[in-house]
Symmetry: C2
C-alpha cells in the first residue's frame, strides 16, 4: 500500500495553521458553483442589483482627473472624516467629532482591524449565531476563538437570549460581536436590548464590536434601527465596523470605516498603515458624495427592499413548504424548507434546478444549518420570478 | 504625589500588545511634522511626482461607466491575472500561468498576507536591514519576531554578508525577507547572490518573501534586476509581494499582487476574503491598462529616475558633507551627513530649515540609524533645487 501526496500538499502543510484552517466561504463555494450559469438570478451575496449611482462615480472621476493618485492620510482624508461626523450627527441626533472616524478598505477590513485591536491567541469573542461567517473567520485567523451562541428560533423568528449570551462569557472573553440588524436573520435589537448588551459588556469590562451596517434597512417605519449610540457614552469600549457597500450600492468599491474612541487613533492608524496603507483618495471623494448627496438614493433602496421583503416573504409562505418570518431589519430573508435539513446540498440543488442563487445556512454557523439566505435588495420583477421558480422547484 | 492617567490610557492598555506596540511609522512622523509646510519639496515617501497617466485612469472611468461596481472574484478578475501572467512571461523570459497570481489591495496587503501565510507567535523571519519598516511591523502584528541582520556598510555602499544571514537562522525561522533592489539602500542582488539565498532557504526548508517591486529601476543598462525567477523552480517556497504603485505611478490606487505556487490558491483566497474581500473591478481594469499599455510610461519613469539619481548623488557629494554611494537599483539615495548621527532630529531639522522632506534612517531598523533616505523619482528641476537647499542647510 502506498500513500500518494497531492502536488502542493507539502507546501500547504508548511503554512501556519491559522491560515491553512481559515474556512473557504460557504457562500463563495455555491457562487463558484453557479457563477457562469445563464439566466441565474443571484440572491446569494449581500448586494443589490443597482450599480453605484452616477453622482458617486462622477466624484471619483473628477478626483482622478484632478490627479489625486498619490498616497494620503492613513486615517482617511479629513474631508471624509468630517463628512462622516456630520452624517452620524444627523442620523443619531447627537454630536460626533471627526476624530472618531477611520477610513478603511471595506467593512471587512474594519472587522479585521477591530479584531486585531483587541484579540489574539488565548482570547475569545462571543457571537450570537447564525451570523455573517467572516466574523468567526477573521477571529480564527487572528489566533483567537469565536464562541458561538445559537439564537433561539421560534416560528421562523430568531431571538437573542441574554442569559445564554452572559453564560458564554469567560475570563478569556474580550468582546461581544453584535450585529443588528442582523445578517442573515434580520434580528434587530430593541433599544432596551442594546442597553442590556452594553451593561453586560461594561459589567465584564469587555468590548463590543458593533456591526450596524444595515441600520437604515428597517421595516416598521422608523428612520433607523436602535443603536449602541442610543445607550452608550463616547468612551465606552465599542468599536463600530462600517461600510459604504449597502446604503449606497458600493459593494465593489471596498471602502468602509471604523468608529472608535479617539484615544485609539494612533493604534488604528498603525494597523491601517501595516495592512493596506490607506484608501484611494478618489474612492474617498466618492464616499463623500455618497454621504452628502445620497439620501434620495438610500430612500429608494429602502423602499425597494421593503417591496422585495413583501414579495419574498408572502411568496415563499404561499408555497406551504417553508418556515419563515419576515425580517425586522437588513435585506435578507432567512428561511428553511420543510423536510430539507442540508442547506448546502439544497443551495446547490436550487442553482441547478431553479436557476436561483441562495446562500446556504451552513455558512452562518450554529443554528443556521437548515436555513437558506435570500437577498431581496433587487427589482420586484426578478423577485416575483424567483418566487415562481422556487415554488416550482420546491413542489417537486 | 499623585499619578495622573491620560484620558483614553485605560482604553489603550486594554488593547492587544501586538496592536498596541505596533510602531508609528518613523517616516509618517516626519511627514506629519511637515505635511502642510508651504513650498516644501517632499522626497520622504516612496512615490514620484507624476500623477497616474491618463490611459490608466480612463480604464477605471470606463469600467465605472459600465457599472462594474459589484463584488467580484476574491483572487482578482481573470483578465488581470492573465495580464499579469503575460507581463511576467515577457519580463522574465519564461512561461507563467495565471493561477500563480492573486490581486491584492496594495503591496502592503501582499506583505500582510504573505506573513500571515507562514508566520505567527513563536516564529521568526530574518530581514537584512536597513529595510522598509513595514515588513518588521507586519511581522510584529502577526505575533512573530523580525530578526534583523544589519548589512555591512563600506564607503556608503551596503553589502549583504550571507554568512551573517545564515547565522541568524534558528529552528524558529520561517522565512528570509529579501528586498532587491532594496528600499532604502539601493542594494541589488546579483544572480549569484539570488542563487545563494535560495540555496540557503532550501537547505533550511524555509520560505523566502521576495520584494522585487523595484526590479525595473536599475542603472547599469539592464532591462531589470536579477530575480529569484532566474534561479528558482515554480514550486519553490517563494512568495512574491508586488505592487502597481511604483512602475505605473499608482501609489494612491492601492493595488498589488502576490505571486505564489498555485497550490496555495485557496488559502490565499481565504486570507483575501477575510481581510478586504477583494479589489474593485474598476481598479483592476486600470491595472490591466497599466500592464498592457504602460511600457512607454515605465521607460520614461526609469529615465527620469536615472537622471534624478545622477543629480542627487553628484550634488550631495559636492557638498563635501555627506557619505554615500549612488544606488544600484530602486529610486532612493541613502546617505549620511558627517557628524550628524541622529537622523530623526536631522530630518525634522531639514524640514524646518531647508524645506526638504526626507525619511529618517531611524525608521529602517538596525544599520540605518545615521542615514537619510531621499526619493529621487522626481523632476530634475526640483532635485536641483533640493541639492541647493541641502547644500546651504548643511553648510551652516
Amino acid at each position: 500500500m502506498t500513500t500518494t501526496t497531492l502536488p502542493g500538499a507539502s507546501l500547504i502543510a508548511d503554512l501556519r495553521p491559522e491560515a491553512r484552517n481559515a474556512p473557504e466561504s460557504g457562500i463563495v463555494e455555491v457562487v463558484n458553483h453557479g457563477r457562469l450559469k445563464q439566466g441565474l438570478i443571484p440572491l446569494w451575496v449581500g448586494e443589490g442589483d443597482l450599480p453605484t449611482p452616477d453622482f458617486i462615480a462622477r466624484a471619483a472621476n473628477k478626483s482622478l482627473a484632478d490627479g489625486e493618485t498619490f498616497y494620503t492620510w492613513q486615517r482617511g482624508i479629513p474631508e471624509l472624516r468630517e463628512a462622516l461626523a456630520r452624517y452620524h450627527t444627523a442620523l443619531y441626533g447627537q454630536p460626533f467629532s471627526s476624530d472618531r472616524f477611520f477610513v478603511t478598505g471595506s467593512g471587512m477590513q474594519s472587522v479585521q482591524i477591530a479584531v486585531r485591536l483587541i484579540a489574539g491567541p488565548g482570547d475569545e469573542l462571543v457571537i450570537p449565531t447564525p451570523a455573517w461567517p467572516n466574523f468567526a473567520a477573521a477571529i480564527g485567523i487572528a489566533g483567537a476563538k469565536a464562541v458561538c451562541v445559537p439564537m433561539d428560533l421560534e416560528h421562523g423568528r430568531f431571538k437573542l437570549d441574554l442569559d445564554k449570551l452572559a453564560a458564554a462569557i469567560t475570563p478569556r472573553t474580550r468582546a461581544l460581536v453584535i450585529n443588528s440588524p442582523a445578517n442573515p436573520t434580520g434580528w434587530t435589537a430593541t433599544k432596551a436590548e442594546m442597553g442590556a448588551l452594553l451593561a453586560l459588556a461594561r459589567k465584564h469590562g469587555i468590548w463590543i464590536i458593533a456591526d450596524e451596517i444595515y441600520a437604515r434597512f428597517v421595516y416598521d417605519g422608523s428612520p433607523r434601527a436602535a443603536s449602541f449610540h442610543d445607550v452608550m457614552e463616547p468612551e465606552d469600549r465599542v468599536l463600530f465596523v462600517q461600510t459604504f457597500s449597502k446604503n449606497w450600492a458600493m459593494t465593489g468599491w471596498r471602502v468602509g470605516w471604523i468608529e472608535a474612541p479617539p484615544a485609539l487613533g494612533q493604534v488604528i492608524e498603525n494597523l491601517i498603515q501595516y495592512s493596506t496603507s490607506g484608501s484611494p483618495v478618489f474612492v474617498q471623494r466618492a464616499a463623500i458624495a455618497a454621504l452628502e448627496e445620497g439620501e434620495p438614493f438610500v430612500a429608494q433602496q429602502i423602499a425597494r427592499a421593503a417591496e422585495g421583503r413583501k414579495i419574498i416573504s408572502e411568496g415563499l409562505l404561499a408555497t406551504n413548504r417553508v418556515s419563515l418570518a419576515a425580517p425586522d431589519g437588513a435585506f435578507y430573508q432567512f428561511f428553511s424548507v420543510d423536510g430539507r435539513s442540508d442547506s448546502r446540498a439544497l443551495a446547490i440543488e436550487l442553482v441547478d434546478k431553479a436557476n436561483v442563487g441562495l446562500a446556504p445556512g451552513t455558512a452562518f454557523g450554529p443554528g443556521g444549518e437548515t436555513g437558506l439566505r435570500l437577498c431581496f435588495a433587487r427589482k420586484a420583477s426578478d423577485l416575483v420570478e424567483v418566487v415562481a421558480r422556487l415554488q416550482k422547484a420546491l413542489a417537486t
